[in-house]
Symmetry: C2
Subunit: 342 residues, 2 copies
Amino acid sequence: MVGIRRLAQHLDISIGTVSRALNGRPDVNAETRRRVLEAALELGYAPNQAGRSLRKGSTGVVGFMMQSGSEITGDGDTFFMSVFDGVQAVFARHNLDLVVLLCSSREDPDAYLRRTVARGFADALIISATRKQDPRIDFLAERHIPFIALGRSQSDVDHPWIDLDFEGLARIGIDRLVAQGHRDIAIAAPADDANLGHIFVETAQNTLATHGLPLPPHRLLRSPPNEAGGYAMAQKIVAMSDRPTAILLVNETTAIGFYRGLHDAGLAPGRDIAIIGFRESPQAKFLSPPLTCFRLDLHALGEALAEALLATMPAYKEQYPLGTVRRIWPMELVEGLSDREE
Amino acid sequence: MVGIRRLAQHLDISIGTVSRALNGRPDVNAETRRRVLEAALELGYAPNQAGRSLRKGSTGVVGFMMQSGSEITGDGDTFFMSVFDGVQAVFARHNLDLVVLLCSSREDPDAYLRRTVARGFADALIISATRKQDPRIDFLAERHIPFIALGRSQSDVDHPWIDLDFEGLARIGIDRLVAQGHRDIAIAAPADDANLGHIFVETAQNTLATHGLPLPPHRLLRSPPNEAGGYAMAQKIVAMSDRPTAILLVNETTAIGFYRGLHDAGLAPGRDIAIIGFRESPQAKFLSPPLTCFRLDLHALGEALAEALLATMPAYKEQYPLGTVRRIWPMELVEGLSDREE
């Protein structure tokens, strides 16, 4: 049995034409289709359904792989939906459709990706929730499947990526809290394995050090990245005999639960503990007192992801001569009242 | 040119075998593949790529079409992610993958669906955001594509659907407010065209009538179904010279903005206006005072959708002998403090 490549070589016509002929596309003339079918018969053609679509860029579909499950998204998502909107705005120019590939939290992301690729319905992929070592990156590179990662990883195959400015967030947040007189600052730690989360902690630690301040282990607080996690973290702080005077959060949904946890203990954000939150989520905008946090243009981030991905796809790279995009996405501080005593 | 059906008739073998032969699947023997390719050549085979996958159930992928865009989801989503989780739990039993088809709010959902079907990468579809008249339902029925609707519609092709119990919500909410002594109750109106939203308003109106109470037009408040919409609705009420004493909301994200809108005007939920909210969303759980609202098991809803869909798919219907499922999904009142004066 031979694959499409040998079939094309044998016929001395392009793989694309052979593929179109086998799929009965109207833009292949009858004579060519006849020749292709004859050769397929003669040589014992057996295509790899999966690899074919992904490599040839013929499906018109791009997949965005994200993790689902309450441990990850807090029973919802207020981040990716806006990113998708930006990705779609770019894809709409090219009649490409975005589909979201939901990897359940109960499933191994590497196995999920391999299966998805075998399904063969996408021309290219955007992956998210990158890990420190991420076998998906090596897998996609080996298969020559165009992809971009939302998030950094130590797995590096000269692939494009865009990641949030976790360093900037740690630096700006710590500097601001120190300038307001805080000397005992806690940090909500991200899961170490996700998106190079250690970068955030290291930068926070280094920034504290420039002010002559330590980050002792009991000031590095861990919780699930969701509302309930934030509530539990607040309870932990409320129960401390030596509370920190300030905290820097690194997940947007934790702020919601953190506020309520303080409130239930009769403490107020700002007055009793200064809070700088992560992202100005739709819900964060409606917290009282307003949360000091970081604004980020998710729609523009989605557009940038889409354009950087198109820059790696044979059919589009000339229109998007961006090379291999590797970009730290900026976040802008929004002053609220959660880190002030008024 | 002939399609796969005539090819199969000509060969007197099943469409499934012909399809597998043309796709080079290993489970077709070489002799059969040779016969199929010969006949394809002879008859001038030209398959409909799209229809083929969707009708034959061969892709292993089920699409869930949802609308994106801030006008619809409020820059995020806390509803569908949990439903997806339930759908995936059922599909995992059968090695089926769920992909999410995001129809941008800038796009016509009917055109989007037609294009998606033409892409041909899904065996079956779940559609949401149904409209009073929904051409997608007729389209899918005409194409014999297995599907289920999350939401009711007047378009009826004897298809399966599951919808939330909007009647129950209106009845229980109004009865409760009236029992607490309210005589001037406002209703947040859903968009009339979505999910038969008029059912909610009619039931509220009828329930008020059983208590001898009217629903005058200025007590039917409209807003975009998101946080900002809830904020605007609160501002509208605050500015009224004759405020209603209670309100029944029908969108979960509006509660967040509605609370903040009251707060900014120095009014308190419960004390100044009684609120019964829609769904107990992850954020609603952390509102102060706790929101009286309705709990609904989204994971179980997702499982029910998946099973009802499988009941319509040739490959699975024997395992799921459910017939055509048409089901109103129950919601359970969760007592908070937002509709009490304490």
